[in-house]
């Protein structure tokens, strides 16, 4: 089991979600994060122009059995890329165990 942590553009979320569905990944959780990275954004507020390197992104946390890892990553890269700096990152972390709260069941089957 792995945990795929994908940090993507908020504007690409719907596309990525659809691509994940097509790849058979229909369960995940997400939340919004602020990213410090290469992309910069220009603003003007009350005459003061400021550029910030802090960008709103969405983090998807997807726990999958090993055979789904590659398809999920491919789907995210394909649907999430715009080609411009700031498209985000994907990290893969090991997961040792998974449980279903409803039943207490354990193991890869609980990932649905």
């Amino acid at each position: 089991m792995k945990r795929i942590e994908a940090i993507i553009r908020k504007t690409k979320f719907e596309d990525v979600k659809d691509a994940l569905y097509d790849a058979g990944v229909t369960f995940f959780s997400y939340w919004d994060v602020t990213g410090i990275g290469n992309e910069k954004k220009g603003h003007v507020y009350r005459g003061v122009s400021y550029s910030t390197s802090e960008i709103q992104r969405r983090l998807l946390s997807i726990v999958v059995n090993d055979e789904f890892v590659q398809p999920a990553i491919d789907a995210i890269v394909k649907a999430g890329a715009t080609g411009r700096v700031g498209d985000g990152k994907i990290f893969v972390l090991p997961v040792e165990d998974a449980y279903r709260v409803r039943t207490g069941d354990k193991g890869g089957d609980t990932l649905n």
Binding site: H43, V44, Y45, R46, G47, V48, S49, Y50
Partner: protein
């Protein structure tokens, strides 16, 4: 009697509208500052209006309208005068009670201007003391010089100072007091880099700020409309027209001008521009033709945009632009009476400038004294750096303004 009744109805409505401006200020200020200081700002606004009315009842009213006096300083005694109140011949435009309440709402307004400028870093106690002394002394004394029949009103033999509804007497007084206070306080942490470059600190809730501006505009119907001091149909309705056109022009010109300068459709500049137009027209709202009102308002809007940039250059930190709006556009509006409208003349201009100057000197000196007193009493005017970063809501109130706010992605 019928006429008094009608006049008095109008004046009471105007009183209500000026009161309503306090919601405008509350919304404007709390929306344009950071969320972590919101409870503090609400608290200060409640304090200003409640304290303002009480202080004005106790002594302010009689300090501002001392009756016959030497023209510089007079005091007609403590409290309100129930005998005068009983006399319906007090004035043909309003009763004694209406007079007091209308003026009392104005007094609280001057203090509210300070509240916005000093936001996000002043100690609550220090603000309360500073505002109290301002309303109790500075505002009514300056007011007495003109509206109380003092030396401004008869400045030279031929020409008196002219300030219809208070570009100087209310707005600039508040603006000067704000300026002195922020010099005492210094800029917020992070507002200017070590090398002096300004940083933006955006507010947390622009919709309520926008609402604040529209409420203030509505309130100005009472502020200026009520300053006719009767329901005279020709004059009151002219004043509403000049007020509205100046506001409109101030907004449009500020937005276009800031677009040209910064290549950005900045809604906060639009908002401040509207207020600049309103403050600008306030001194001569009854003297201008519509086209003159548009010009005065438009320049008022531009003055505000420039003043905001100027303040940044001076490293003076005014989170909501109160000083740009109330002090700079207030000075502009006062001078404009000498340039446009029925009273325009070189002599008038000179008198306006002189009284602007005198007011400035008096306010700066007296507010500096008040600032020292406040610092002494409160052990400094400013919260600690740590409290400031954590936010005044936690530090001073132990509350947060949106404690239970959650995200509900649908």
């Amino acid at each position: 009697m019928e006429l008094l009744t009608t006049n008095n109805v109008w004046m009471m409505i105007c009183t209500g509208l000026v009161f309503f401006m306090h919601l405008g200020f509350t919304f404007l200020e709390s929306g344009m500052t950071r969320q972590k200081n919101t409870v503090n700002i609400l608290f200060k606004n409640f304090f200003v209006i409640t304290m303002g009315l009480l202080v004005y009842a106790i002594g302010g009213f009689n300090l501002m309208y001392p009756g016959d006096f030497n023209g510089y300083f007079g005091f007609a005694g403590w409290g309100l005068d129930s005998v005068a109140a009983a006399d319906l011949a007090y004035n043909e435009g309003y009763t004694y009670w209406t007079d007091f309440l209308f003026q009392g709402m104005f007094a609280a307004t001057a203090a509210t201007i300070v509240s916005g400028a000093v936001a996000e870093r002043i100690k609550l106690g220090a603000f309360m003391l500073y505002a109290l002394l301002l309303v109790a002394f500075v505002y009514p004394i300056v007011g007495s010089w003109q509206w109380g029949g003092g030396f401004f009103s008869t400045f030279t033999e031929e020409v008196g100072f002219y300030d219809f509804a208070g570009s100087t007497l209310v707005h600039s007084v508040g603006g000067w007091a704000a300026l002195v206070a922020i010099v005492f306080l210094g800029a917020r942490v992070g507002r200017f880099d070590k090398d002096g470059k300004p940083n933006a600190i955006p507010g947390h809730n622009l919709p309520i700020s926008a609402a604040g501006v529209l409420i203030l505009w509505l309130g100005w119907f009472g502020f200026n409309g009520g300053s006719v001091l009767s329901a005279d149909p020709a004059l009151t309705s002219l004043v509403l027209v000049t007020t509205s056109l100046a506001a409109a022009a101030g907004g449009i010109f500020a937005f276009v001008f800031s677009l040209a300068l910064y290549k950005n459709y900045d809604v906060t500049m639009f908002m401040n521009g509207i207020l600049g137009g309103l403050v600008g027209i306030t001194a001569g709202a009854d003297l201008m033709s519509p086209i003159e009102a548009v010009i005065v308002g438009a320049i008022g809007g531009i003055v505000v945009v420039l003043a905001i940039a100027f303040m940044d250059k001076q490293k003076l930190d005014d989170p909501v632009g109160a000083i740009a709006v109330h002090l700079f556009a207030g000075i502009w509006g006062t001078l404009a009476v000498g340039v446009f409208g029925d009273s325009a003349s070189f002599e008038q201009f000179a008198v306006q400038a002189a009284c602007v100057g005198i007011t400035g000197v008096f306010c700066v000196v007296s507010c500096t004294i008040i600032g020292f007193i406040t610092s002494k009493v409160c052990g400094g005017m400013r919260v600690s750096k740590e409290e400031e970063i954590a936010g005044l809501d936690g530090a001073e109130h132990g509350m947060s303004a949106y404690a239970d706010f959650r995200l509900n992605q649908h």
